[in-house]
Symmetry: C3
Subunit: 314 residues, 3 copies
């Protein structure tokens, strides 16, 4: 299936096929390097980025595309997203113009825009992402929005497939401590992806940290981490701030930190960046069971698959 | 005619020919994509940019050039423009060295440097632009200087030509309100361009907002916006701060805002970014008469024509 | 000899051969522009840069590589370099992950990271550079670290060779005044390079400004600038902060400023950026004896030689 926009894991029609296609790309990354010739990918960052910034550019280059990177806040100016506003404040350009204009120069636009974590309704409306889709005239790739990070979710699915021989491995998404309030996007997209795969998927998080029930659906949620980790093949750690008490950090003690003792022989995954000895102890990250570098590597091929599907459709 | 530097609309020898050449490029943007092979365009930004940043890179890529972008202040350090200074203050590199050095790595240099709007004599001396021309050993493109924005002016000329069937359309440049003190560069270059074209060109601005008389020359200036808009085919809106009371905002009420009622069937133009419902109401920008996206699109072909002419001369 | 990493002048096995190879590249910069095809150079800047930023990109482009630039602090987040830390402070990602991750996307990594100038032991440990080498899985190029700037040192060696007909010219490295505390890296690498060449090399600096004795070795150090400059063919000026009273500025008066009177017919060199009329007077920089622009030009070919040697080894 060809692809118009890639905004959430729901845009994946058949995840097992996509994983196979991504692994084909990984085995021969330059096979399609004429497909993007003379095509431009505009990467717009409203927030910081390392992996996404580099891997998405690398994916574009592998396809022969020209990436153009822009830090929206530093390089340009404040963008207005509200309709009908009298723009006499701090924003200097409306998304209607900004998205239309960028579409004149870029064949595909990729956007990163984190949530406020203060206004649940606004964040959940995905107004930035949806405004770009509405007003841009070219395909859009989500490089992490308020509620989802589907390039990461696809990456994680690929990485799990690559690292198991089991027909139906057990995968645990575990909340882990952090000092700052973090978004739900990675946890949401990972959950979405696992629900589409043939895995035994459970979530472990403290009380007060349940994810959005519309994401969790009928996935089993444990509040006892030890119980959840029993017979786990993969432990995926991630901090997120409270969803119920929206954006708040209600627990910071380290009893939910991932340790070698806790996970045993299970493979360890994390999207990175990760705070060592807060989210997870050194002994886990420095062991052979840590898949974090391989996850980072697979970001390129997830992005490349998405861009390839979009380019085939342009 | 081949081109050494492109610093103002005065560098255009015959604007109607340039417009035709730009439209040829637009109809086949990749025709000359070997011309810039192994050539580097250095884009130096002293100020923020969205359209110029993206369209100039796109133009370079269409010609096969390698663009290298640098935000001078964030990426490097303060540049000194005065001769003979004892540099024991905040500037760390003199333009003599900076321009000579960048010339070692770039085949063409493009510079954006806004005016202070506090020192009229210094701004009008175009000391930044002229210092680059003096000390660089390669051609220079003005991406908006203190007093002119000739890539925009050429773009606007192209857009008007594309959107009229009249032999001699009426074009009005109208001042419009804004909350901040803005430069005169766009208005100046638009005026320069219109004066070279076969159009009926008039300017509308409140008292106290006359542009530099050396730019206006014998162009008719109305202080009555309604009178100026009569039978207009194009209304080009732009705010600028006072020239007489240099850099000051002497009027902020919205009675000069562009409305659908005021412009009727005339096409609406603006260089963007534009503050909605301050400079112009939503009803105008959201109508089919708004040419702003097409103007943004034509920025690529204006830049590409300029770079092509320069490359043919290198 | 092929090259794994380029971290200091000590990585140059035979400097006279390298100079000849660099001059060959200079005479035909595009000769090897297939060598880097589909290879990516990641340029990571922890600090500002103009020459290094542009010349290293230009070198990569000449070899057909794709450069990807990242300002680590602005574009990404604080990186932790200490082992075993509980990362509950301002750093969000450990160098172990960061270096491993960047290695997934880049075939070569180039890093600029200045010293603190407050902690001599930490700076001299070169912990940032060494951490990258330890945890990256691809070759690393030093774009100026705490204690060395070997792309500049190689450049300077090339420039001296190009600009002398003498078998054994006299080269003086002279301290010069500055208002801020500057690193020792350029002075160190220049000293390293000169000690490997067939030149008469001496250093001139005020008392209290001796460089690290392990760098100086048996090079003659004058505290009398006039005495040192006698019969000099090249005067290389550079400020550095005190090494003994680490990182302190103990002298700011201008009696050590380089003047035309002082250097006579000697060629003048400086790595740039240079503060005019503080480090050196206008009359020297504006004279034909100043080689600073040619040094900047040669930065490209030094970087290109280093990248070529690394690519031949990948």
């Amino acid at each position: 299936m060809s692809l118009k926009n890639y905004t959430s894991i729901n845009d994946i029609d058949h995840i097992e096929t996509w994983i196979q296609e991504a692994l084909m790309i990984k085995s021969n990354p330059l096979k399609n390097n004429e497909l993007g010739k003379n095509k431009t990918l505009g990467l717009l960052f409203f927030n910081s980025s390392l992996r996404t910034r580099l891997s998405t550019q690398k994916a574009a280059l592998n396809l022969g595309m020209n990436p153009i990177v822009m830090n929206v806040s530093g390089d340009a100016w404040g963008i207005e997203f509200e309709d009908g506003t009298v723009m006499n404040g701090s924003t200097a350009e409306h998304i209607k113009e900004a998205a239309a204009v960028v579409s004149q120069y870029c064949d595909v636009i990729a956007v990163r825009a984190f949530p406020s974590l203060t206004d649940k309704i606004k964040d959940e409306s995905e107004h930035i992402l949806k405004s770009f889709i509405k007003y841009a005239s070219v395909p859009l790739v989500n490089m992490e929005s308020s509620t989802s990070h589907p390039l990461q979710g696809l990456t994680d699915a690929i990485t799990i497939k690559e690292n198991t021989t089991k027909k139906r491995p057990k995968v645990v998404l575990s909340w882990a401590p952090h000092v700052k309030a973090l978004p739900h996007a990675v946890a949401n997209s990972f959950t979405n992806a696992m629900q589409k795969m043939d895995v035994e998927f459970v979530i472990a998080n403290p009380k007060g940290y349940n994810l959005n029930p519309e994401i969790v659906k009928d996935t089993l949620v444990y509040h006892d981490q030890k119980e959840a980790f029993k017979n786990a093949d993969f432990v995926y750690a991630k901090n997120w701030s409270s969803y119920e008490d929206y954006g708040k950090v209600v627990k910071t003690d380290l009893d939910w930190m991932i340790t070698k003792d806790k996970i045993g022989a299970a493979k360890f995954m994390h999207c990175l960046p990760v705070r060592r000895n807060v989210v997870v102890e050194d002994a886990v990250l420095d062991s052979e069971n840590a898949l974090v570098t391989e996850q980072a590597n697979n970001r390129t091929f997830a992005a490349q698959l998405v861009l390839k599907k979009i380019l085939e459709n342009v």
